[in-house]
């Protein structure tokens, strides 16, 4: 084999998370109420547009979670050896961006370095040419702008072709129907499945059919700018640094794409770590009552009375001491950074379960008094069985809402924590570390703005999509909203 797969702890947990989501989806398909609620989300155009953006981010994050160590060239007489560096599938895809490092800062699409240097063949200090950015232009720079324009239009054309192809495939395979009206209203009909009279179907479904159509249309319309941007980035990225380079000359676009995985991990794993504790304690406190309730309430009141940032800071400082005093635990630096990322998720989870536990306790108190629980008690069903069979399923909507609502806050928190110095490992590429290193350079003249702007834009897109999606999920699942 030319590589050795590496499964970091965070990768494993991410795969577990995906397995859980798939299992829950299969289970939810059989539940009438859940299916109806999800159908409401699926019909919401804004939610589906947000979900499309999120799906693209998740795809990039997943690609970045398939880690491997490349095999070193064989030397006679030795067994296969592998590189120390742990790379991911995304690194392999972006090897062009990763390996074409410049000396230091350069502006987006620039052909010259940001700072002047003394060149070997002249006495004056000049801006040296970049090693890779615009190298294909040769010595003649007069067609620099023309080249960029050509590449942008080529990228747009490519994106458009792929988009049309994708729409065509989706329409053919999923039986979606394109109506010739802008914005392309696509409606679900049993076109390819032998139904001879689609209009009967339409009437029977009433208004929901057009709502479904608007939602599919929203997916296609969202995909168009995404694919156009991808096309432009690929086309320009072949010859330039699209978002410039950072202090050590790394491509900022590459850093931004790598940051996505860190943000996603912190947003999801934290809740995953937190949920079992919150659900268990919340239900126990609400259903069992008595001294159990007192102890659990005391526990979460105490934890929540410590200001979040300070508790996180204290816990992370302590974790740093542990990691620094036990270097023998980690074989590679990637493993150490990964352990620190997981520990951060754990700490964030431990400080944030209190709110969910309090909500669940209150809801359990209400459920406990309802007839179906009392009936189960009268039939002699055990306490554990009641909690599992009757209480837990009726709390799932709160859990789901908490999960999606927390995500965006956690992504934003990562950046702040990394700034405070209690975030991810400084070697982990994340939005926080990007902002933190770029912040220092704002005072320079001319200003180095590109890595800040790239980090903030990517973060904005991710968080906005997550917020919009979370709102739709809450509206669909919260019984209080009509």
């Amino acid at each position: 084999m030319s590589f050795q797969p590496v499964v970091l702890w965070s990768d494993a947990l991410l795969f577990v998370l995906i397995a859980v989501i798939v299992a829950l989806t299969l289970w939810a398909r059989r539940q009438e109420a859940l299916r109806a609620a999800w159908a409401r989300v699926l019909k919401d155009g804004v939610a589906m547009a947000a979900a499309t953006v999120l799906a693209v981010f998740v795809l990039i994050g997943l690609l970045d979670s398939l880690h491997y160590r490349a095999r070193l060239p064989d030397q006679p007489g030795t067994t296969a050896r592998y590189a120390v560096e742990v790379n991911s599938a995304l690194d392999a895809l972006l090897s062009d961006l990763r390996l074409r490092a410049e000396k230091t800062y350069s502006a987006p699409l620039a052909t010259h370095l940001y700072s002047k240097e003394a060149l070997a063949d002249s006495t004056q200090r000049e801006f040296p040419r970049l090693k890779f950015g615009g190298a294909h232009l040769g010595q003649d720079l007069s067609n620099h702008e023309f080249d960029i324009a050509i590449r942008v239009s080529r990228g747009c054309a490519g994106g458009l072709v792929i988009w049309l192809l994708l729409v065509w495939i989706l329409v053919r395979t999923l039986g979606l129907e394109l109506r010739g009206r802008f914005p392309f209203v696509v409606s679900l009909s049993n076109h390819g499945r032998g139904s001879k009279r689609p209009f009967d179907k339409l009437r029977a479904n009433g208004g929901s059919d057009t709502a479904q159509g608007a939602a599919s249309g929203a997916i296609f319309i969202t995909l168009l700018p995404i694919l156009l941007l991808f096309g432009i980035a690929i086309s320009l990225g072949g010859g330039y640094h699209v978002f410039g380079t950072d202090k050590v000359g790394q491509d900022v676009l590459y850093l931004s794409l790598k940051s996505i995985r860190t943000g996603l991990l912190i947003g999801t794993l934290t809740t995953l770590v937190m949920l079992p504790v919150a659900v268990l304690l919340g239900i126990l406190a609400g259903y069992v009552g008595g001294w159990v309730d007192d102890v659990i309430q005391y526990l979460y009141t105490t934890l929540s009375s410590i200001p979040g940032v300070l508790l996180i800071a204290a816990a992370v400082l302590m974790m740093q001491v542990i990691i620094d005093t036990h270097p023998q635990w980690f074989a590679t630096s990637a493993e150490r950074a990964d352990a620190r990322l997981l520990a951060l998720c754990l700490i964030l989870g431990m400080t944030s379960w209190t709110g969910v536990a309090r909500l669940l306790r209150g809801e359990t108190l209400k459920l406990r008094e309802l007839e179906f629980v009392q009936a189960a008690q009268a039939f002699g069903v055990g306490r554990l069985a009641i909690m599992r069979r009757h209480i837990l399923p009726n709390l799932m909507h709160i859990v789901l809402i908490a999960l999606v609502m927390d995500f965006s806050g956690l992504v934003l928190a990562e950046a702040v924590l990394s700034y405070v110095g209690v975030g991810v490992d400084p070697t982990t590429i994340s939005f926080g570390t990007m902002i933190n290193t770029a912040r220092m350079e704002l005072a320079r003249e001319p200003m180095v703005w590109w890595s800040l702007l790239a980090a903030f834009s990517f973060m904005f897109a991710l968080v906005l999509a997550a917020n919009l999606f979370a709102d739709a999920v809450r509206d669909a699942f919260d019984p209080r909203s009509s």
């Binding site: 508790l311 800071a313 950046a415 903030f456």
Partner: protein, 325 residues
């Protein structure tokens, strides 16, 4: 009322003891003082003597909980737990790593923190409630819809962006106010105006949306319909009826924050170089000054508990039906 307050204060004691035990466990049991010393002095090539000296300087050379070597009450008092954790109840926080008295440092730094936090809080509250009322007044129109979209967009922008962007635009491009720093007296105004405005703008998205939800919930109730049926103009309905009745949910979220204003904002203070408690905490975290972090955790929880108590008391002021007993 007084009996209620006293009982609530008594309830606070076990919680504070819990916080104290937790920080004690975090700082002295999870990592022994030896670990901390090794970390501070550099992990490699550190002599046992240097560790002993570091511990002795900071009073970490005592036993954790039980001093068998001492006599009488000193078996309990001459320990790390008593000298470092229990004494916090008497507002004795000990000394920071640079040798300064932490309690004294806190009192001097409280002023600048409040000078930023209080105007931000008051102005933010006023602006957010006004915007929310405006959106509710124009509910279910394009203005309302675009307002909500704007709120969600503003919520999705990182707080760091507001600070960095604001500093760049106002101080660097427009040269209106100094980028950072702090001065005493009236001089402070020119340093304070930018952090306050940025703080208000940064918080406006989520709070406006939150107040709008509260008002909308309130506006569907029967008394509002009655008020409209009487022929009251919508303006009066909103200000005199809806706003007043929405006070309880608003107070729940707002009053608890007031005492923690003392703590200052970590980010704002460190970006603007304000010598307040927030920047003190950040500096301590960066310098890994455990004594300061421990003190701030303790003070933070005390303030939070005071905030909860104030919330309950404020209910009786806002709603005469609420009786505390």
């Amino acid at each position: 009322m007084l009996a209620y307050i006293i009982r609530r204060l008594l309830y606070a004691i076990p919680i504070l003891i819990g916080v104290n035990l937790l920080t004690f466990a975090l700082f002295f049991v999870v990592n022994t003082p030896d670990d901390m010393a090794r970390m501070q002095l550099g992990v490699k090539r550190v002599t046992p003597e240097a560790i002993q000296k570091w511990k002795a300087e900071r009073g970490y050379d005592k036993p954790l909980l039980w001093n068998a070597a001492a006599a009488g009450t000193a078996t309990v008092t001459d320990t790390i737990f008593f000298s470092k954790s229990v004494r916090m109840f008497a507002a004795d926080f000990g000394r920071a790593d640079d040798g300064r008295d932490i309690a004294r440092e806190i009192t001097t730094r409280m002023g600048p923190s409040l000078a930023i936090a209080v105007p931000t809080f008051v102005l933010g509250l006023f602006v957010a409630i006004s915007f929310a009322l405006l959106l509710v007044f124009f509910r279910a129109t394009t203005l309302d819809f675009s307002g909500v979209v704007l709120c969600v967009a503003m919520m999705s922008i990182s707080g760091l962006f507001y600070i960095i962007g604001g500093q760049w635009l106002v101080s660097k491009v427009w040269h209106l106010v100094p980028i950072s720093g702090y001065g005493g007296g009236l001089d402070a105004a020119k340093f304070l105006i930018l952090p306050v405005i940025i703080g208000v703008i940064g918080g406006i998205g989520s709070s406006t949306r939150w107040y709008r939800t509260i008002f909308l919930e309130e506006i569907g109730k029967d008394y509002v319909r009655t008020a409209r049926a009487k022929g009251l103009p919508e303006r009066v309905v909103l200000f005199r009826h809806v706003l007043r009745n929405a006070m309880i949910p608003i107070l729940t979220g707002v009053v608890v924050v007031i005492p923690t204003l003392f703590m200052g904002s970590l980010l704002t203070e460190s970006f603007f170089g304000v010598p307040g408690l927030g920047s003190y905490t950040i500096d301590a975290i960066n310098a890994q000054d455990f004594a300061v972090v421990r003190s701030m955790v303790f003070i933070g929880s005390v303030l939070y508990i005071v905030g909860l108590l104030l919330t309950d008391i404020s209910y009786t002021l806002a709603d005469p039906r609420v009786r505390l007993q």
